[in-house]
């Protein structure tokens, strides 16, 4: 399984066979990952002084860019806490189900 597959959510049972997984300890690490990501935002309060500074076309342009930067930056929080964590969870869930599937290989091979 390539990293790109993880990106696309292409987790599958075959690739998980033979993996080692300790759910309790790993979930603690995953929780920590989510917790640290969940506070990574740029608050709207940063724009409170915007009006007093926006007196030129340049500042108007700059604020448009800053608005994009804020959105992109705040998207990272969702990206990590929902999407990346979700996919990692999918992978680990897959590990747990892989064992029950792997036994079928014998019958198939014969």
């Amino acid at each position: 399984m390539a990293e790109a597959d993880v990106y696309l959510g292409l987790v599958n049972s075959d690739s998980s066979q033979g993996e080692y997984y300790n759910p309790e300890e790993f979930n603690l690490l995953l929780d920590d990952l989510n917790e640290t990501a969940s506070i990574m935002t740029i608050e709207d309060a940063v724009f409170i002084s915007k009006a007093a500074a926006e007196g030129t076309n340049a500042m108007e342009l700059l604020n448009q860019k800053l608005d994009q930067v804020q959105q992109m930056t705040n998207r990272y929080k969702t990206f990590m806490t929902v999407d990346v964590s979700g996919l990692i969870t999918d992978c680990t869930t897959n590990v747990q189900t892989a064992d029950s599937i792997s036994g079928d290989a014998i019958d198939v091979a014969n």
């Binding site: 990293e3 993880v6 990106y7 696309l8 959510g9 292409l10 599958n12 690739s15 998980s16 993996e19 080692y20 997984y21 300790n22 790993f26 690490l29 995953l30 920590d32 990952l33 640290t36 990501a37 506070i39 990574m40 935002t41 608050e43 309060a45 940063v46 002084s49 500074a53 007196g55 030129t56 076309n57 340049a58 500042m59 342009l61 700059l62 860019k65 800053l66 994009q68 930067v69 992109m72 930056t73 998207r75 990272y76 969702t78 990206f79 990590m80 929902v82 999407d83 990346v84 979700g86 996919l87 990692i88 992978c91 680990t92 792997s102 036994g103 014998i106 019958d107 091979a109 014969n110």
Partner: protein
């Protein structure tokens, strides 16, 4: 300044002359500093959070609480990709911070250095206008005074000099401050205007201040654009978006729904753009079209969608197809086959062929290249996973038949410029469909061959009766699907159909009339699956009241096996001419007195396929040896599967030996007519089969064979013991010696009974002795060149012990009905035991771990005096006492020390084992349910390793 900067400047300069554009502009240094400071604080906070997050990511990326292939991919994602992403976000923040500082610095340098500066275009204009009014008033008054002076000079200069007052200082001061007075004339306005428009020479101080603000504004815009914030934000967004869109498809849903219409017409407007699509786009399109297909029940209306979607999927390439895509393709293919839409089907099959370079060699300024061409079976199997073989039978079987096309090789040659040499052609394979009399025909054309076949529905071909017959021999629905769809040629279909419906010997005999040479590899596989299942259906293993595993015969199953064997293997071969039959010398694999022994090609198929399957299961076996000891379920699955192949092979070997022995007896006849009869072994018939288990749990097969052509024998009843499966060359001298020794011992045991060895028959391609023991004939090998373990991976020293210790090794065993030779054949359990002993040592048979430790301590306590009877002499000269103790420890526990057991000769190894066998004085508790015996040999033979 870059191109972008120049463009912006040009556009900005165009309108800076218009005051209304700049109206309202201001720059407040304290307010801006505060605003930028807020951003800087936010960036700092974010960075602090990010540093904690880096630690958390690293913890996941380096954890050993989740390991494996997926884990590695996910960890790489965190440690590389996402770490880089977050670093890039922080870098952008840093750069924006620097940009803010640069903006303030530039203002300080180019507009006003006062840290509290505030400048407003409108205020400056207002002030300027005020002063302009004053200037105008001043100038008007100056003019009045000047006019008055001129008037006075004109009237009164004759009385004396009237001095002209110089008002230029005041005018200049006003002009410098607020610009020239426009009322002074058009020329003045023009000059002032041109100066005003100049960046370098604004007219008046106030205009100059305004101009500095405007210039600062313009230059700052350029600065901001040149920071490329847009593209960097876009890049970062894209790196997160594949996730975001997956979770929040509404972001792009509308965009791509608008493009659906372009597919409806089947054109390729959108398709031309697919190369520039991002993964986000691709996922979105897939989602939309998958929904369309799933929701669609009207083929006519939605046909264009299917075609368009298939075009899109072909365009992105099969390498990028997800499981969901394959499901969509299965639906498209089913609709195409169901509606006989060859255009759509051909379109859907576009990606299912391949041409692969498998060899290249330089040749005279170019290359000779060998290609493999065929149908992508793996890809097709992914599609077939989504097709129901019963309710969508025609689709399933037709696609299976396509996938079963045998791959081909094709050679071509190129000049050094890459062009194909004259007389050669490029490799090609074309896969398509057409309608013939309203029936769907598939055509596959390659450089070498052209295949035409009709679509087929194997579920209907085998019929309900056939389906139930197959169920009756123990096949699951999945087995039946695999068996029924292992077809490519028409003869394959006839074979599968015939086998599924046959129940009597006569019916099997009819099936055997299908020309076996016209079967494909798939037909061979189908026959193998079927034969193994018929054999396996004869017996079940059960545990008796003493806890021993026994074979329980299934009478219906045995009758089925008799009918199958007699009809398929021992009946007259297919309706080929005598010349054609000469190609069917299969079973014998050798000539006797210049004549080929005939046998049946279906037998050969069964034999070779089972052999192949056995070898495959051997590979699997090696994997399972290392499984956790507790994983008994997995091990049992493996052993069951391998034993089935193993026992079926034994059965087939027995038939072959039996048929050939009879032939040998017949060729002893003297007349030509009798000899001619001998050629026809197809009248041989199995009368009965009985099954039982021997001590190691292996199935043992006895059967009686009759041949109506036998005229010189009082009795036609023969009994054959199972002949162990072998078939490869003896690969070391020691085993050959052991084998030859055993054969000699066997022959002596026969002659000691007062019996004569009357001849030999071929088995395994070599000659074997035949011993006539009353009405019992036992075939054994006498040469041994072609006998070897079915498992080659056992280390030679352990293999040597395998021969000595295990009853499946070479030995002669006296049985009530005669003697039996076991010829170096290791069944699955034996091989498993040997691998375990090799890995964990002989102590693996111990029940009590304290005993293991105690023997280890015993070995540690050994002194030189203890090595007098064993492990002594010149062979051990180079080994110290400590090294000998390491060797013993290794053999006992499997733990290796400084001295490698690989350095030992076979003799030394045997010696070391015997040391342990003879010197362990402590009362060791071995597994008393199985590992019983005086010697390790006996213990290992009886030990149940799993």
């Amino acid at each position: 300044m870059g191109v972008l900067g120049n463009l912006i400047v040009n556009n900005i300069v165009d309108y800076t002359i218009h005051s209304f554009i700049n109206a309202g502009k201001f720059f407040n240094v304290p307010a801006t500093r505060k605003y930028f400071g807020d951003w800087s604080d936010s960036f700092t906070d974010f960075e602090n959070y990010a540093n904690e997050h880096f630690v958390a990511m690293d913890a996941v990326a380096t954890t050993d609480t989740w390991m494996g292939v997926d884990a590695d991919a996910a960890k790489t994602m965190l440690s590389d990709t996402e770490t880089t992403l977050l670093n890039d976000i922080l870098k952008l923040h840093d750069d924006i911070d620097s940009l803010h500082a640069t903006i303030l610095e530039n203002f300080k340098l180019t507009v006003d250095s006062d840290p509290e500066a505030y400048i407003s275009y409108d205020d400056l204009t207002k002030i300027e206008n005020d002063f302009k009014e004053k200037s105008e008033a001043y100038n008007a008054q100056v003019k009045t005074v000047e006019d008055m002076i001129l008037d006075l000079q004109e009237k009164y200069s004759k009385y004396g000099d009237i001095r002209t007052q110089d008002f230029s200082a005041g005018k200049t001061a006003f002009a410098n401050f607020c610009g020239p007075d426009e009322s002074l004339g058009s020329l003045a306005v023009e000059i002032a205007f041109s100066k005003f428009c100049s960046d370098d020479e604004p007219e008046g101080y106030l205009a100059y201040c305004r101009q500095k603000l405007i210039k600062f504004d313009n230059e700052t815009q350029i600065l901001i654009e040149e920071a490329n914030i847009d593209s960097r934000v876009d890049d970062l967004n894209k790196r997160m978006a594949s996730f975001i869109v997956e979770k929040h498809p509404e972001y792009l849903q509308l965009t791509y729904l608008n493009n659906v219409g372009k597919f409806v017409s089947g054109d390729s407007i959108l398709l031309n753009d697919t190369y520039s699509w991002s993964l986000i786009d691709a996922k979105q399109v897939r989602e939309i079209y998958s929904k369309v297909i799933k929701d669609s029940s009207n083929y006519t209306v939605n046909r264009a969608f299917f075609y368009g979607y298939m075009t899109y999927l072909n365009n992105i390439g099969s390498g990028n197809w997800s499981d969901e895509d394959c499901e969509s393709i299965s639906m498209i293919m089913h609709l195409a086959i169901k509606n006989k839409d060859t255009e759509l089907l051909n379109h859907a099959l576009t990606e299912f062929t391949y041409t692969k370079e498998i060899d290249r060699s330089e040749a005279g300024g170019g290359d000779n290249v060998t290609y493999e061409i065929g149908v992508n079976k793996e890809l097709m199997s992914k599609v077939l996973e989504h097709v129901d073989w019963k309710t969508q039978g025609r689709t399933y079987s037709t696609l299976s038949r396509i996938a079963n096309m045998p791959s081909e090789t094709f050679k071509t040659a190129y000049y050094d410029n890459g062009e194909v040499r004259k007389g050669y052609e490029k490799p090609y394979i074309r896969l398509g469909s057409s309608l013939v009399d309203e029936k769907l025909k598939i055509t596959i054309t390659t450089n070498n061959n052209s295949y035409d076949f009709m679509s087929v529905n194997m579920y209907k071909k085998i019929g309900e009766e056939g389906y139930q017959n197959l169920k009756a021999i123990g096949m699951t629905d999945e087995d039946i699907c695999e068996f029924a769809n292992s077809v490519f040629t028409d003869e394959d279909i006839q074979l599968v159909q015939g086998l599924s419906q046959a129940t009597t010997e006569e019916e099997y005999y009819k099936v055997a009339q299908i020309n076996p040479e016209k079967l494909s590899d798939s037909g061979n596989v189908a026959f193998s699956i079927y034969g193994l299942q018929v054999f396996d259906n004869c017996y079940d293993y059960e545990i008796d009241s003493d806890g021993n595993q026994i074979v329980k015969e299934n009478k219906d199953g045995i009758n089925k096996l008799l009918a199958f064997s007699n009809g398929m293997f021992l009946g007259n071969d297919c309706t080929l001419s005598a010349e054609e039959r000469n190609n069917y010398e299969v079973g014998a694999q050798c000539k006797i007195e210049g004549e080929w022994v005939y046998c049946n090609n279906y037998f050969k198929m069964a034999y070779s396929m089972t052999n192949y399957s056995l070898e495959n299961s051997q590979t699997l076996f090696e994997k399972y040896v290392d499984l956790d000891k507790e994983d008994l379920e997995q091990k049992n699955k493996f052993f069951t599967a391998q034993k089935q192949n193993y026992d079926y092979m034994t059965y087939l070997e027995g038939i072959r030996a039996g048929v050939q022995i009879k032939y040998k007896n017949l060729v002893e006849q003297t007349t030509a007519s009798e000899r001619r009869k001998t050629v026809n072994v197809y009248d041989t018939q199995l009368d009965s089969i009985s099954l039982y288990t021997v001590t190691n749990g292996r199935i043992h097969i006895d059967f009686e064979i009759n041949n109506t052509n036998l005229t010189n024998k009082e009795s036609d009843s023969y009994k054959y013991y199972a002949i162990q499966y072998c078939g490869e060359e003896i690969d070391n001298e020691y085993r050959k010696e052991e084998y030859d020794k055993a054969v000699k011992e066997y022959n002596n045991s026969i002659t000691s009974l007062g019996l004569d060895i009357v001849g030999c028959v071929p088995v395994f391609g070599e000659l074997q002795n035949i011993v006539d023991v009353g009405n019992t004939i036992i075939g054994i090998g006498s040469d041994g060149e072609n006998i070897v373990s079915s498992h080659k991976e056992v280390e030679e020293k352990y293999e040597r012990l395998m021969c000595e210790w295990n009853q499946d090794g070479i030995s002669v065993e006296g049985l009530p009905g005669g003697n039996e030779l076991k010829i170096g054949c290791y069944d699955p359990e034996t091989i498993y035991k040997w691998n375990i002993v090799q890995r964990d040592g002989l102590s693996v048979m111990c029940v009590d771990s304290d005993d293991v430790k105690e023997v280890t301590l015993y070995i540690n306590r050994l002194s030189e005096d203890d090595f007098k009877n064993f492990m002594s002499g010149k062979e051990w000269n180079r080994y110290s006492v400590e090294e000998k103790k390491e060797i013993l420890t290794c053999i006992w526990t499997g733990e290796t020390g400084k001295v490698s057991i690989d350095d030992l000769s076979n003799v030394q190894f045997d010696d070391a084992v015997k040391f342990l066998q003879n010197n362990l004085s402590i009362d060791i508790k071995y597994d008393n349910t199985a590992a019983v015996g005086k010697t390790f040999s006996e213990k290992l033979s009886n030990w149940e390793a799993y």
